[in-house]
């Protein structure tokens, strides 16, 4: 019976677990709190697994649908459903939450219950965003998710956390409010908030362009695309490790996913019409932001900029409108979820020991932490797109698709293989290699079991997806084809009708 409610369980189980942790947990009973949180996140993860085992790969339509009346006054329904684009992202979300809970184990000592609860609740809300098929329901999840993240950065963050978290909140809020106006406009056109009704609605080009921009602002902030990316480095630098992981691994993907779910299929003609603009922005993100990453002195900031650059591939993949590019973009989203999470966890490992994120404070870490260095180098290679790791697959697919589209676009995109390697490996060189820089580095202790466990799991995933990307493309294949066929049909009202 529960199989009919897989999505509801996936959403509400972690939220419920979060509330339980909040009520029962406290700093005095730290162990109980942690175990409660872990069991909560694990059961939430297992609750999402039926999405994998029971998914019908041959179908592009939305599966696991649930529908119930919610606000009849506005014809709003509690309507859930997933396609092959959403399922991998949902699995990534529930997986990442487990990682975050383990990563926080003995690192977070203040307000443990609130910390764990925030991540559990956030996980449920993000799964809600990925599975909502009603736009108001989606919007509620989308906005509600900001509240726990706001608190996470603000309470457990670094020195400048208040500035960073307020900037994060206001940027995202401002972006999404215009999306709400677009939803209301579409509601008055169709009489419902159902996304599937929006797909069928014919719209004139000027309306499509306005709608597209309303969505664009919301999602571009989230992804983030140049030039509205400035909140991300701040938020990442100040956020606690767990916050950075969730931000990079999942929240950025919400923006990308939402482009595929809303902006483009609802306004396909505008998407085609503005594709040059979007590709330009993506290329700026890929090239310019990579150069910015090159000069960063702060490790977290460097990874943050590298995230923006990598997300440029995602939007590029969307807007060249080809099967290969689209699937590449989705693979890139998932792969970046694992790699960026791993990179931020690596910085977290160092930060806990040294309380510094400055590259200049390190040097020769490989001498004192050989096991850790091995992992870090692997993830760095993956980040710069080494074949055999998941980082390579997505980028390669997008570049391949881009070559067919336009050689120079592909050429500019491909420079990332150089720049990406440059900034990542240069950081690795300065932090890990060379002589032991100072006595703090000399006193470093290598990974403990907990840290080893999470990095090993992530390494397994990064290599696994690099060698066998079919795990994701199985999901995306049919859905992507269907999405493209939807995009190829114009929604402009036919003249004379």
């Amino acid at each position: 019976m529960l199989h009919n409610h897989v999505l509801s369980v996936s959403i509400w189980l972690p939220i419920l677990a979060g509330i339980v942790v909040l009520l029962l947990g406290s700093d005095k009973q730290a162990a109980l709190t942690r175990w409660l949180a872990l069991s909560g996140s694990l059961s939430a993860f297992f609750a999402t697994l039926p999405l994998y085992t029971k998914y019908d790969f041959s179908q592009g339509a939305f599966q696991f649908q649930e529908i119930a009346r919610w606000i009849p006054a506005f014809n709003v329904n509690y309507h859930l459903g997933v396609d092959g684009i959403a399922v991998p992202l949902i699995l990534l979300t529930s997986f990442t939450t487990v990682i975050v809970v383990i990563a926080a184990w003995e690192v977070i000592t203040k307000n443990i219950a609130q910390y764990m609860a925030a991540f559990l609740i956030m996980s449920g809300l993000m799964i809600g965003v990925f599975s909502a098929l009603d736009s108001l329901l989606y919007y509620v999840f989308w906005e509600a998710m900001l509240i726990p993240m706001f608190l996470v950065i603000g309470i457990w963050g670094g020195e400048n956390r208040v500035y960073a978290t307020v900037k994060f909140f206001l940027y995202t809020l401002l972006g999404s409010l215009l999306m709400l106006v677009a939803f209301i406009y579409l509601y008055h056109q169709t009489g419902s908030f159902a996304i599937l009704d929006y797909y069928k609605l014919p719209l004139p080009l000027d309306a499509q362009v306005l709608i597209f921009f309303a969505f664009f602002i919301a999602f571009a902030v989230k992804i983030p695309m140049w030039p509205v990316h400035t909140w991300l480095p701040d938020a990442h630098v100040e956020a606690p490790t767990g916050g950075s992981v969730v931000l990079a691994a999942i929240m950025l993907k919400l923006g990308g996913y939402s482009f595929l779910r809303f902006a483009m299929p609802i306004a396909p003609d505008a998407a085609h019409y503005l594709s040059g603009f979007m590709i330009t922005l993506s290329l700026i993100a890929i090239v310019y932001i990579a150069l910015v990453a090159l000069v960063q002195k702060d490790m977290k900031k460097l990874i943050a900029y590298s995230s923006i650059s990598h997300m440029g591939f995602v939007t590029l993949g969307f807007f060249i409108f080809s099967q290969l590019g689209l699937e590449g973009a989705i693979v890139q989203m998932i792969s970046h979820g694992f790699i960026s999470a791993a990179m931020f966890l690596c910085v977290g490992v160092l930060y806990e020991r040294m309380h510094s994120r400055q590259i200049a404070d390190y040097g020769g870490v490989v001498n004192t932490m050989p096991m850790f260095a091995a992992f870090a180098v692997l993830f760095a290679m993956a980040n710069s797109g080494l074949p055999g790791t998941s980082g390579f697959v997505g980028e390669f697919m997008v570049i391949l698709a881009a070559v067919k589209f336009n050689f120079w676009v592909a050429f500019l995109a491909a420079t990332t293989l150089i720049f990406g390697a440059a900034y990542t490996l240069w950081m690795v060189k300065r932090v890990f290699y060379g002589d032991v820089a100072n006595k703090h580095v000399a006193e470093l202790k290598d990974l403990n079991h907990r840290e080893f466990l999470i990095l090993a799991i992530l390494a397994f995933m990064v290599i696994g997806l690099g060698v066998y990307p079919k795990l994701i493309t199985d999901f995306t294949h049919v859905s992507a084809a269907q999405w493209l066929s939807h995009m190829s049909v114009s929604k402009l009202p036919i003249a004379g009708l």
């Binding site: 506005f74 509620v140 603000g154 208040v162 978290t165």
Partner: protein
């Protein structure tokens, strides 16, 4: 004689409040200070009996009394229930505060009950005369309540300002009413409406009368450009009175706006729509931007009220049943949020200490995580972030305005909502990210803690299930305005 009897049964809730208010005034003379709590109990009983009569005399149709001066329709019943419930909650929140400050006296309860009576009469007013009578009863009670702490210079100053400006507003409203009366020959709302339908609506006297009425209403709401009194009165009045002024009277003001504009001057919709649009946009802009600069919590909430009124006007100016219902939903949500917000300020206050500066909230999460959580919900609800009721409130009025074609005003309003989010976030920041300045225990009576928790959680619960309240508002408006 039977005719009068039927009328009296219709006004049974009002009669209850009236007679009990007078009884309390008298009984208070014979009570020893140690037995004062009896007055409190009596006042609460009054509200519940009045609420009971409101429900028991409820009929889903429109009924009239006193030669159509008084109307008993679902809209009036729902608003009366909200007013009574809100006042009862306010009584719970303010009991300790008043006790500690020597204001726990019979006249406080009598005056509040008189103001409640005024609101109930306003809500049911079907003649401009009835409406004005109710409004004056409410206003005069509020002026004296603001001055209740009579040795406090600030309170007296606030009361004076409130009185002078409020009297001016009442005068304007009355002046406008006299012009409308002169042009239509009637004081009755329904007759005005039908008279206007047949007459030339471009008549300048008519429009002038409308301007004065809208100005008077704007004054009572506290909408820009008639908002000057709001911050001073909010800050100067004792917090318990600020809570009263900021909450339930807005329900009554909404009611007379519906009676006068939507029912009485329906044929002039296009004219008052423009006026409301200007006031709505300005209120949202000025309210939100000025609130950022405040350091006093009460003053900040005053500006926040101004911006909320702006959103409320968005629903009204849509001029459709959908718009009125969404405005009603907004105002109900607003009252709940205001009660929770001021309730929290009252809870943090103690003997000789007013928790009215923003800094007094610092580190609340460390002092009391539960209190901080309740305030968190309240603040996000005021900012309009889902899944709280504040979001649906904004959502409904904006969709109504969009339906009426005010696209750019709506875009402006949502941008301003993001500006507004900043100062609500600042409170969350103070509570969660800062270290506490004072570490004294938060002592509040159990009933207050319980009701305040229910109140704040309701903001969240109604956000998850907004349907119930929306439906109540929709049905009430639909059945009363045809």
């Amino acid at each position: 004689m039977e005719y009068i009897q039927a009328d009296l049964i219709t006004v049974l809730p009002e009669l209850t409040v009236l007679s009990m208010a007078m009884f309390i005034l008298l009984a208070d003379l014979f009570l020893k200070p140690s037995n004062r709590v009896l007055v409190y109990v009596l006042a609460q009983i009054t509200l519940f009996v009045a609420a009971y009569f409101t429900i028991s005399t409820h009929v889903p149709t429109v009924g009239y009394a006193f030669t159509r001066m008084f109307v008993d329709d679902p809209l009036a019943d729902v608003l009366k229930l909200m007013i009574l419930l809100g006042t009862a909650m306010m009584f719970v929140y303010t009991r300790q505060y008043m006790q500690l400050r020597g204001m726990f006296r019979g006249e406080y309860y009598a005056l509040v009950l008189f103001s409640v009576l005024g609101m109930m009469v306003m809500v049911s007013g079907q003649s401009m005369l009835t409406i004005y009578m109710g409004l004056e009863l409410l206003s005069l009670s509020l002026y004296s309540l603001v001055a209740l702490d009579r040795d406090n210079a600030k309170s007296s100053e606030a009361a004076m300002k409130y009185f002078v400006l409020g009297a001016l507003a009442s005068g304007m409203l009355l002046y406008g009413m006299s012009m409308i009366y002169g042009m239509t020959g009637s004081l009755n709302i329904a007759e005005i409406s039908s008279a206007l339908q047949d007459s030339n609506t471009k008549n300048p006297v008519l429009i002038l009368g409308l301007v004065f009425i809208v100005a008077g209403l704007a004054f009572k709401f506290g909408a820009v450009p008639f908002q000057m009194w709001v911050p001073d009165v909010y800050q100067g009045a004792p917090t318990s009175i600020t809570m009263l002024i900021g909450s339930v009277p807005k329900l009554a003001a909404f009611a007379i706006a519906i009676r006068l504009l939507a029912q009485g001057m329906h044929p002039l919709t296009a004219d008052w729509q423009d006026m409301l649009l200007m006031m709505a946009v300005l209120s949202i802009a000025i309210g939100n931007m000025t609130a950022i600069a405040q350091t006093n919590l009460k003053r900040m909430l005053a500006y926040s009220t101004i911006s909320h009124v702006g959103f409320l006007l968005f629903g009204l100016m849509s001029g459709s049943l959908n718009g009125f219902a969404s405005s009603m939903f907004y105002i109900s949500a607003y009252v709940l949020m205001t009660l929770a917000g001021f309730g929290m300020i009252l809870m943090l206050s103690r003997k000789g200490f007013e928790a009215e500066n923003l800094d007094d909230l610092k580190g609340l999460n460390q002092r009391s995580p539960w209190a901080a959580f309740l305030m968190l919900i309240t603040m996000f609800s005021m900012a309009g972030v889902p899944p709280t009721i504040g979001f649906y409130a904004k959502f409904t009025v904006l969709q109504a305005a969009l339906q009426a074609g005010f696209l750019w005003a709506v875009v402006f309003a949502v941008l301003m909502a993001a500006v507004g989010a900043f100062y609500y976030l600042r409170i969350v920041k103070l509570m969660y990210f800062d270290t506490p300045q004072d570490s004294s225990m938060i002592s509040a009576p159990a009933d207050m803690k319980l009701i305040l928790s229910v109140n704040a959680i309701a903001l969240l619960a109604l956000g998850l299930m907004p349907q119930i309240l929306m439906q109540i508002c929709g049905v009430a408006i639909g059945a009363s305005l045809q």
